[in-house]
């Protein structure tokens, strides 16, 4: 089974005058897993529903495998979808749920449905009804049901948000494994940045109905295209700095920029906590305000004059950082984004 390319072209859609999609364009490679990430109301779910045919566009086109399917109704689009809400048919068993789409296509349903249940690791529960399954199991069956019809595109609309943390991580990894195995082009909508970074080939960060950045997870995290992306993906410090050519000077350290910027010279730089090091130093300018133990790493809030800096430190370092300890704040010279400065 090979994936097809998906092309969203200048999609626009507004609800009661409020634009949900504002000219969204997106190219998805065959077999790729794209995560659409963004805060609620950014249009990510609308984009997915338009792709599925469950929502109409005001303008723009949807192309799958080079064919324009913008006006094709949902039931003739050949897409598998997994919803955030539990969507299994309550009157059918897990196996019958998976067979539903196959029977509509008049295909031998038995073997394939059973194979799909085995693929998602739920074959032991084939004869159970949805209300006899846990949330995670229900979503597995929903995934098997979506994949059984060999869809051209697999659409996942926050399928993990209703599950508890452990099941979520487990099923997330499993979705990635299965997707790689069957090679179906997949769009995964989520508001959880960790989920998006972990699962996707490329992450599309959306804001106000547009793509803010579309890039590989490491790229999105390390080289955010805008302050919004830097802020939304991962935690960031907002530190005052001075623009100085193609670098910015923050707390006495020159940091490169992710993209050249004009304006300033007073700017706000977005610096990730893991790029900040806090070292006990009797002559340091900073003072530890508080510490938070988080397991493998911990967080320290330091006041440097008027500025608050959050740093991520190891457990051993945390032991040396009691409240009110004098410290020195070091910034690692990784590229940073600037807030509210237009790219030049």
């Amino acid at each position: 089974m090979n994936g097809v390319a998906v092309h969203l072209d200048e999609l626009r859609r507004s609800f009661g005058g409020v634009p949900a999609l504002d000219g969204l364009s997106l190219e998805i490679q065959p077999g790729e897993l794209i995560a659409l990430l963004g805060p609620s109301g950014c249009g990510k779910t609308t984009a997915l529903r338009i792709l599925a045919g469950l929502e109409d566009t005001d303008s723009g086109r949807v192309l799958v495998g080079g064919t324009d399917i913008t006006d094709r109704p949902a039931n003739r689009r050949d897409m598998g979808m997994v919803f955030q809400a539990y969507s299994l048919f309550p009157h059918l068993t897990a196996l019958q749920n998976v067979q539903f789409g196959l029977k509509l296509r008049r295909r031998a349903a038995g073997d394939r449905a059973a194979a799909m249940l085995a693929l998602v690791g739920i074959d032991a529960y084939a004869d159970r009804y949805p209300h006899q399954l846990s949330g995670g199991q229900q979503q597995r069956v929903a995934l098997a049901r979506a994949l059984a019809i060999e869809p051209q595109v697999l659409l996942l609309d926050e399928p993990l948000s209703a599950l508890d943390a452990k099941v979520r991580v487990q099923l997330r990894d499993e979705i990635r494994r299965i997707q790689t195995e069957v090679g179906t082009t997949t769009v995964f909508v989520t508001h959880d940045q960790e989920e998006a970074l972990a699962i996707a080939d490329r992450v599309g960060v959306m804001r106000a109905g547009r793509l803010e950045q579309l890039a590989a997870p490491t790229e999105v995290y390390l080289r955010p295209a805008s302050a919004f992306v830097a802020d939304f993906v991962g935690l960031s410090n907002r530190l005052p700095g001075r623009l100085d050519g193609d670098a910015v000077s923050v707390l006495g350290t020159r940091l490169p920029l992710v993209q050249a910027a004009a304006g300033g010279p007073e700017v706000t730089a977005l610096v990730r906590p893991e790029s900040v090091d806090v070292v006990p130093d009797a002559d340091g300018t900073g003072r530890v305000l508080s510490t938070t133990f988080l397991g493998p790493t911990s967080r320290v809030t330091v006041a440097v004059g008027e500025t608050l800096v959050v740093a991520q430190v190891t457990g051993e370092r945390l032991a040396e950082l009691a409240t009110d300890t004098r410290v020195r704040v070091d910034l690692r010279p990784v590229p940073v984004a600037l807030e509210g400065v237009s790219a030049s």
């Binding site: 469950l54 689009r77 919803f83 969507s87 048919f89 789409g101 509509l104």
Partner: protein, 264 residues
Amino acid sequence: MAGLRARRARRQAVFRWTTLAVAGVAFLLPLGAMLEFTLRDGGGTWALLIDWPQLSETYPDLAEGIVASFGQAVLTALLMLVLLVPTAIWVRLRLPGLRPLVEFICLLPLTIPAIVLVVGLAPVYAWVNYFLGSSSLTLTFAYTILVLPYAYRAIDAGLSAIDVRTLAEAARGLGAGWFTVMARVVLPNIRSAVLSAAFLTVALVLGEYTIASLLNRTNLQVAIYLLGKSSATMSVAVSLAALLLAFVLLLLLSLVGDRRKASR
């Protein structure tokens, strides 16, 4: 403290049993009296009632009324389901803004007395007579309006219990057209609600008198009323039988509801 609570519990128990006894007497005494009255001839009335050929020969009007009522009940239930189920589903899926309006329209018959309804229906039935004849079965149309409040409530409650939108979208994504969505996804999941609506309809139609009488049609209740003037025993026996049938229907209805809850 404990004594106080025990005394209160005892007082509540006494109150409960008194209420039950009063209500039971109020309901059962007339029924018992009806039964006693019909048995005065040594059970001959009941023997005749279950002997259909004999009954239709002795009381042709009554037989006609019974047949008419059952026909009306079945047709009304069918027409109600055909009209209401797709409408309720469609409104929920595609036109949620119309829900208050549809609910209002469906509840309207409850607020209009039957006699007023007849005044409005009489001219309409002049046309019904013209096109479809004056068969008693044409009362089906009036009865469908009459049962709307109860049937709509039942079906709407059934739809509220499931996530119709997500189920329909999931089915559409799997390749189901709208008809398949309704017939194979939504309908099986609101089966008990549909059964409730149908039972309520049948019970209501079997007990209807005003409209049939005022529009000069016959049905069970009209026949019973007319029979009451000539053969009181038989009319009371038939009334009792009709009541029991309605009880059985309502009992079935609550059983269906219980089984649904138990399987959840």
